[in-house]
Amino acid sequence: VNFELDDDQRAAAAGARAFFTGSASAADARRALDGAPVAPGRAALAGIGFLGITVPEAAGGAGSSVLDLAVVAEQAGAVLAGPSLGTAARAAVLLADHPDLLAALADGSTAFAVLDGAGPAIDAAGADIFLALEDGALVLGPGEVSTGIPMDATRGLGSVRLTSRRVLAEDAGARWARARSVAQVVLAAEDLGAAGRAVQLGVEYAKVRTAFGRPIGVEQLRSLVWWAAWAVDAAPEELPLAAAAASAFAAETLERAAETCIQVHGGIGFTWEHDAHLYWRRAKVDRLLLGDEAEQLDTVAGLVLAGGLAR
């Protein structure tokens, strides 16, 4: 057993931290609520290669693992970066048989978003083209986006109606499920970064002793995220359980960290100018994306009842 990042992954985390702290911030997330573009934005993410981390090298990506991506995604989450690396990772799984589309994903020349029925889709605002599952087939096409007033503008949420489509693959149900699990894992990794930062904000502010023991949840979440990200490539049979567990735990952990962060700050934490609410917004939105906690817990229960606790 060896449950630790390797030196390359630690170096990648340090590099990602440098990139994201220099290119996105909670202040950017606040400006995005007033209509400014999401930071660092697709072009910058493509430029540093983060949209292609899991895209094969032949298609212009890095050909790396989802675990490698999760390490980067944690740093993205810490500064509330957008668009989500989960969107790119999900699209990379769906487009695996289409090198030309994969190349356009990795180099940022096409903005993909992935739809879950008619519900709000991550990074739909500003996307050029959409991937969807219709009658078991994977389809691709342009669409009309409708959106509400964003709670967390960095997520680019919108509902999409496809205006035309072409079929990329029939009988794509299994690939679709795997792609969705991958997106759950990467989103959970972003939530891990956000939760860690929310705790840090609270701790830095706390001038009096308090039972602010929330990193307990953050470290537990880290374990589930790493397990799930590892399982994507190394133990696919464990992925559905691991992804649902990580997703459910991420929702709860980030929400608690963000709520507590505000509480610890007192009145200042409730102001628009303070960063606390931006993490709170991310928490309130992410907990509902790619299935809410009730759905994830039911998925876990179903897998456990079916004998899924193999390891």
Partner: protein, 408 residues
């Protein structure tokens, strides 16, 4: 990152399994439905079980050879732990000695003490207990009042300890005492090894919430301890005790092990009971099962990470307290989901129609586990101060002489 055994680990596991099969006739095994924590009543058989395991090289696996151990790796120790569970061998009778007292003697003992005590501890020739808490000092351990006064080459001990697991069968204990009341409370403490059969030691079992008697109160009336059984320097008792407490928090949940009934046990019960529930109750039961499973998995995988860190030479630090907090929280979710699945039997300690009562026993056991080794509140304080670096609250009692009376 890899969760599978390395070739070396797999070979070792095979050898451990073979040894456990070879010696099966000489080992106590749990009955169906019996849990590891239920077996404390068969003392002689449990002592023999540990001795047989020790002779087979399966006790003190990661202890140094000079201390009577096997000089193995933490990974090998974890494999033995897993295989003992798999073979349904109950909790080792000397688990307090192996998990807490032994590592403390190793860290702070003299070569003579190592020689005298460690090999016998490993073979359960001596069972050990840990004499820390007192009626007036549990969470505030450093406020303890049991005194040790030096008389020539001996120390004379008077006072009372409480919540002492295994004291009723123990041969030795590590005993934290106050030797200088004129110094601040943490600075006036000294640790000893005490012979539990010495004149003046009286053990009285306490009946627990669940009806069992695993722990005790222990009285010391003019008990004489030779200075050669002092563990660490006079006044250094707090530092010695911290070694014990860190090991305890790792032992209680910090390894990511299940506390009480496992999530697999809950899965088995749920597979049987959930389909019998009305549809709207199934939805709720599945939510509870899912929540418990997620918490238990988070705890288990966090244990793997801590274990990886330790196997690379890291030491258990104050963050082990977080593992204990999370472990007990997960165990409570598992226990509650299990009890609720019992339906009408849940209102009995054992239901009338074939219920074995293990979920109710589990429920009644967990409140104690949540206290042992530091309550949740104490652990949160430790995490706040030592992991997060939050400023401690002003505490006069840390600097004023203990006898001056600030004993809150």
């Amino acid at each position: 990152m890899d969760f599978d055994d390395t070739p070396d680990e797999a070979a070792y596991r095979t050898r451990v399994r073979a040894l456990l099969a070879e010696h099966a006739a000489d080992l106590v095994h749990l009955d169906a439905g019996e849990e590891a924590s239920d077996a404390g009543h068969q003392e002689p058989a449990l002592r023999r079980t540990q001795r047989v395991l020790a002779e087979a090289g399966l006790i003190g696996v990661s202890w140094a050879r000079e201390h009577g151990g096997q000089g193995g790796t933490p990974a090998q120790q974890a494999i033995v732990d897993q295989e003992l569970t798999r073979a349904r061998v109950p909790t080792l009778i000397n688990h307090i000695g192996l998990g807490m007292c032994g590592p403390t003697v190793v860290a702070h003992g003299t070569p003579e003490q190592h020689e005298r005590y460690l090999a016998r501890l490993l073979r359960a020739e001596d069972v050990w207990c840990q004499l820390f808490s007192e009626p007036a000092s549990g969470s505030d351990l450093a406020a303890l009042r049991t005194t040790a006064v030096r008389e020539g080459d001996e120390w004379v001990v008077n006072g009372q300890k409480v919540w002492t697991t295994l004291a009723h069968v123990a041969d030795h204990g590590i005993l934290l005492t106050r030797t200088d009341g004129n110094r601040p409370k943490h600075a006036g403490l000294t640790m000893f090894i005490v012979d539990m059969h010495a004149p003046g030691v009286t053990v009285r079992p306490l009946k627990q919430l669940g009806g069992q008697s695993d722990f005790n109160e222990v009285f010391f009336d003019d008990v004489h301890i030779p200075d050669s059984d002092r563990l660490g320097e006079p006044g250094e008792g707090w530092r010695v005790a911290l070694t014990t407490l860190l090991n305890e928090r790792v032992a209680v949940g910090g390894r990511g092990n299940d506390l009480g009934l496992s999530i697999e046990s809950l899965a088995g019960l749920a597979a049987e009971r959930v389909p019998q529930l009305p549809a709207e109750r199934q939805v709720l039961a599945r939510q509870a099962l899912g929540r418990a499973a997620v918490a238990a998995l988070a705890n288990r995988y966090t244990g793997y990470r801590r274990y990886t860190a330790i196997s690379r030479g890291g030491l258990p630090g104050p963050e082990a307290g977080a593992g204990k907090l999370a472990g007990t929280a997960a165990a409570r979710l598992v226990a509650d989901a299990g009890v609720r699945l019992l339906g009408d039997d849940a209102v009995y300690s054992r239901g009338p129609d074939g219920d074995d009562g293990r979920w109710q026993r589990n429920q009644a056991w967990l409140p104690g586990i949540a206290i042992a080794g530091g309550t949740n509140e104490v652990l949160r304080n430790i995490i706040g101060e030592r992991v997060l670096g939050l400023p401690p609250e002003p505490r006069e009692d840390k600097t004023a002489p203990f006898n001056a009376g600030s004993r809150s």
